[in-house]
Symmetry: C2
């Protein structure tokens, strides 16, 4: 008999079916026992009256993997309106050891640290798995939005001979006896691939050896990168980003609606035109001194509130960040060269996306590196490509975990990451 | 005026359009000059008769990025039956330096080493970019096939505290002062996630510090991993793999048909049931001694020819590899415990996929490690999870680059990899 999932019971009402999953919970009452089986689709209630079967169920602790052959009957009080009766219950493995927390309770009764130490089991709880389902849906939406716009997916090296962003916070490794580094971003490669496909994207891990121990930093995270050529300036990039975000949120709504509901999360609307303020105005709105070179988290929060109040938008572009605070490949604003054609996108008052227009002329790269006192040699393979014809281009990078955390209201990014890596955590 | 791509010219016949791209080639005849512009969609022929425009075009070397505003007219002799006349040509950047090889020739006239040294430019040639388009299509097909079958996409750590596969050939790195390693596969994590979602997949980089310098090994490659729970044995995994491969090839045909044609590649048919031979029989068919523990490349080639001859199949499963040659998490064949429930899939006589059923009982893991004289401690976080209820499960891993190389007939895997990493190559 073919196994069915718990969400396929209703059409099988009156018939004998086979389900399989984990013993989610047992309720051992006097005259009857209820066995709740969890599978990837949800929960199924099995009613046990036969004393022999009951004795077997009593010996199967929560999380034991079982198979149940039983009859589907209507019961308005059961989950989805049906339950399983006259069961034959067969374990598919040995009795499970009890996890360090009860997975059947609505809230996982353990601190985050215990959850992370026991991630393989903690992730089975809906509060944790829902975030990962949302994550999968968001990535699917990212790719679908860009596929429609003729972007080509690429896969680029994660080990490089020199650091991507100027210098610090890289993980060093030994590459067959040579020094090498984990890539902090696919920045250089996605730009180079604009020369091949015009429009490219990559979904992959990036590595930051930042000694931050905060709720919003990870040492490995999943970066959703896109880059496109033949732009007039950064505003063309912002249009694609807006549409990509809308596609991601549509996909989350469509593919992970139950997961959103499980977390009580609300999908934000993406305005047709996301409001945008120049950095200089952003400082004023946030009440920061006019000579601040960057936005602090408190400024971002203030801007998020302003966007919600003034524009009813949970998203806000800040454009024109000072050149001094942006990487060397950033294109300056031709009208105000101290400012850049770089932008950030704030989501609910937190930086979610960084992007902008990049330099595309070889001479500009040489000048930019010289102005920062950096040698060309470590970047030779990258900079050299700009001698051979590169169009005006730009792009953006979305931090997947940060996006999901902000969307679900998780206070710590680790709550939406399966197996986080940070300053302290290298296992499991 | 909105830019259009070169494959959108025909519906604009008779109108003035704007295109942009790279100077692919110039043909400077006496009375007329032809400017061939390359963009992401293909080539467009621009006819230049005005002496002033001609002088400008003469000053724009191949690979310079240009914008052309001109009128679309029918010309049966031109690519796609139309060409552009009365052009205004504007460079979008400085004149390009000539690449070390001519990109407009049908065959890239440079050895692979020169191509790889100059990858950002070499990849612009159709012979190289086509393989990457096929690669993108194949990955899209992989995901679509598994999404349909309720698999959930995951993202797992690429830096781990101990090596995934027993011991050798790992890249060591410094993780905030602690020793760590680049993940050789997402094997442990995808198994653990079967406990959460039952069915998972991951597309991501894996790292092998193998001192191989061969045409079919890379030190970083893209692994297409899938794992599923509640299987009877490895044969359930093989069914999913068969359908996934069919989905990949369908997607390549549908999304990258032109790229296939450019490489003269033929899509193989995937039999409804891929032929399968047991390892012991495979040795006999390949003419190998009966006590060989593994298949050598020559054996795989012989088996590939046999499958084509006897089953008209370009694919062949070899099942039941000896336990001695499979990793410790491999499930033995209950009927013949010296053999495993592990399999390889050969594609045109080369190993393309490795997969199998895994152990799912905690006690079996302890026994398997003990039998190999390996301590449990390095695997503690992984092995421990099996105490908490894991279903019978299995999975597979497809090497993306190897798949594309075999599909396109590329003799060296580096030809289908954008920026390969190997024993000698860490740049660009």
């Amino acid at each position: 008999m073919q196994r069915i999932l718990s969400d396929q019971l209703v059409p099988h009402t009156g018939r004998t079916v086979r389900i399989a999953g984990w013993v989610h919970r047992r309720r051992l009452l006097k005259s009857v026992a209820f066995l709740i089986v969890r599978d990837s689709a949800g929960l199924a209630q099995v009613v046990v009256t036969d004393p022999v079967v009951r004795a077997a169920v009593e010996a199967l602790p929560e999380e034991t993997v079982v198979e149940v052959v039983a009859t589907v009957v209507v019961n308005a009080a059961a989950p989805a309106g049906v339950e399983l009766t006259d069961p034959v219950v067969r374990p598919l493995g040995p009795p499970a050891a009890p996890p360090p927390f009860d997975l059947y309770r609505p809230v996982l009764g353990a601190g985050l640290s215990t959850q992370l130490d026991n991630a393989p089991v903690a992730l089975r709880h809906p509060s944790r798995s829902a975030a990962l389902r949302i994550s999968a849906a968001a990535v699917a939406g990212f790719r679908a939005a860009l596929d429609t716009r003729r972007f080509v997916e690429i896969h680029t090296p994660k080990v490089v001979a020199s650091s991507t962003e100027s210098g610090a916070n890289v993980f060093a490794l030994d590459w067959f006896g040579r020094p090498a580094y984990l890539a902090q971003s696919p920045q250089f490669y996605k730009q180079l691939m604009v020369g091949v496909f015009e429009r490219v994207y990559e979904v992959g891990p990036v590595f930051r050896a930042e000694p931050h121990d905060t709720v919003r930093h990870l040492a490995q995270y999943t970066s959703l990168d896109a880059e496109l050529g033949f732009v007039a300036d950064h505003r063309d990039v912002m249009v694609v980003l807006r549409d990509t975000l809308a596609g991601m949120l549509d996909a989350v709504g469509g593919r992970a609606g139950e997961a959103l509901a499980a977390l009580g999360a609300q999908l934000p609307a993406v305005p047709t035109q996301i409001p945008s303020v120049h950095f200089a105005d952003a400082l004023r709105i946030a009440g920061a001194p006019a000579d601040e070179p960057d936005l602090a988290p408190a400024h971002e929060r203030a801007l998020g509130e302003w966007a919600r109040r003034e524009h009813r938008s949970e998203f806000l572009f800040v454009t024109g960040y000072p050149m001094a605070k942006r990487p060397f490949y950033t294109h300056p604003d031709p009208a105000r060269p101290g400012y850049s054609n770089g932008f950030d996108l704030l989501f609910r008052g937190l930086e979610l996306v960084t992007g902008g227009q990049r330099l595309h002329r070889h001479a500009d790269y040489l000048a930019a590196l010289a102005a920062r006192g950096e040698p060309v040699e470590p970047y030779a393979g990258y900079v050299e490509a700009f001698r051979h014809g590169m169009p005006p281009h730009g792009g953006f990078a979305i931090g997947l975990e940060r996006f999901v955390a902000r969307l679900t209201g998780a206070p710590n990014i680790r709550e939406v990451t399966a197996f986080p890596r940070d300053l302290h955590r290298l296992t499991p």
